[in-house]
Symmetry: C2
Amino acid sequence: MNPKFYFLPQEKQQTILNAGFHVFSRNSYRKSPMSEIADAAGIRKSLLFHYFRNKKELYLFLWDTCAKITVEEMERSGTYEQTDLFGSMEYGMQAKLSLMRRYPDIGVFAVRAFYEKDPEVSSDIQRSMGRYLAVHAEKKLQKLDPEDFISGIDLQMMYKEMYWASEGCLWEYIQRGSMDTDAMEKDFHELVDFWKKVYIRKRQGDKR
Amino acid sequence: MNPKFYFLPQEKQQTILNAGFHVFSRNSYRKSPMSEIADAAGIRKSLLFHYFRNKKELYLFLWDTCAKITVEEMERSGTYEQTDLFGSMEYGMQAKLSLMRRYPDIGVFAVRAFYEKDPEVSSDIQRSMGRYLAVHAEKKLQKLDPEDFISGIDLQMMYKEMYWASEGCLWEYIQRGSMDTDAMEKDFHELVDFWKKVYIRKRQGDKR
DNA sequence: CCTCCGTTAACCGAATCGGTCAATATGATG
DNA sequence: CATCATATTGACCGATTCGGTTAACGGAGG
């Protein structure tokens, strides 16, 4: 990638990145034309080729950038330091939302890239994935105290259910095409509120 | 559409339909080549054009077929007659699963077609949608008796949460690319079980 | 042998693809 | 104004792919 790209004004860089995320998130690698990305970025195709030698380079650059800023955002938000389940859930959501406000299509792009089958890029994606695959939050489950939740509840199932619900909510917005992050934030917040009310054990002496 | 298509053996019809659902569900209308569909169906492109005059005709035929068999399956399964919320949820899921066993990509196809923007087909899709848009299950909510559920629960939120969770679960399978309907059935069933345990009010004198 | 018909190979013109490059626009400097 | 470096573009290329057509193939039945 041409280092001159980094000297572009932040805003222009972001526009180009978003154009890439957008097109690659809606089509497979092979069916994502550079021309379409250039159009979405408001520049000419030739300029896009000026910054990135070829399509593959742009694609992998987007993938790396995606991983980089995701990790940055997660650390910045303090999600990892949260010990409470619902707290970390909400923090994680906030991080995701803040990311999606700057890069609306980054989430779908990441998923699609991860499952991309095209031999021209799939191996590179999978290889670099090994580096980024952090020890996922599943560990959280073992630290949960059953006494904090309503009696008899299957904590693993609860966690899975919560995960699916938030993904399903996200999916609804994705399908619609418009990424109204404010509405999403509201929905997510209501979800967490609902979970708290339903799943948390009410102890005698608790306020509320 | 060439009426000869109907005289094909059921199995071959289904193979062609599935090939169409598959390709159109993974790419936009414009980026779904007829050749790819023919390949997926195991026939030559020219034969595909023998049954369907052009791409648009095939696409709209798939859309109509999709609507038709969905309605059929819903009626056959008896989902509409279910009065109990979780019962209708489970019946609906079973109907969806039975559909997806025969037509693995029909669900994603339907969603994608509904949001398709290409001017060559979007207007036709939207127009015919008006005919199929049944009075959705949302009415169910008003018939629910709050006494049946744990006290203080927001029923609307509960319903929304359940919907999202099932969609999120579905999404996970879609992304993975493989439609393991048996595993899905297991997951869905466990979900409903979980909901029942958590949301239903336990009355004194209830068995279990 | 012929006829019928499902099926195909070969082909067509147009469009699109990734990528190149000479030319132009822009802006700073002297 | 002239000069020069840099940012950006238009025009172009060869290869491929697209939707769609058509003549011919090949097997079954008479």
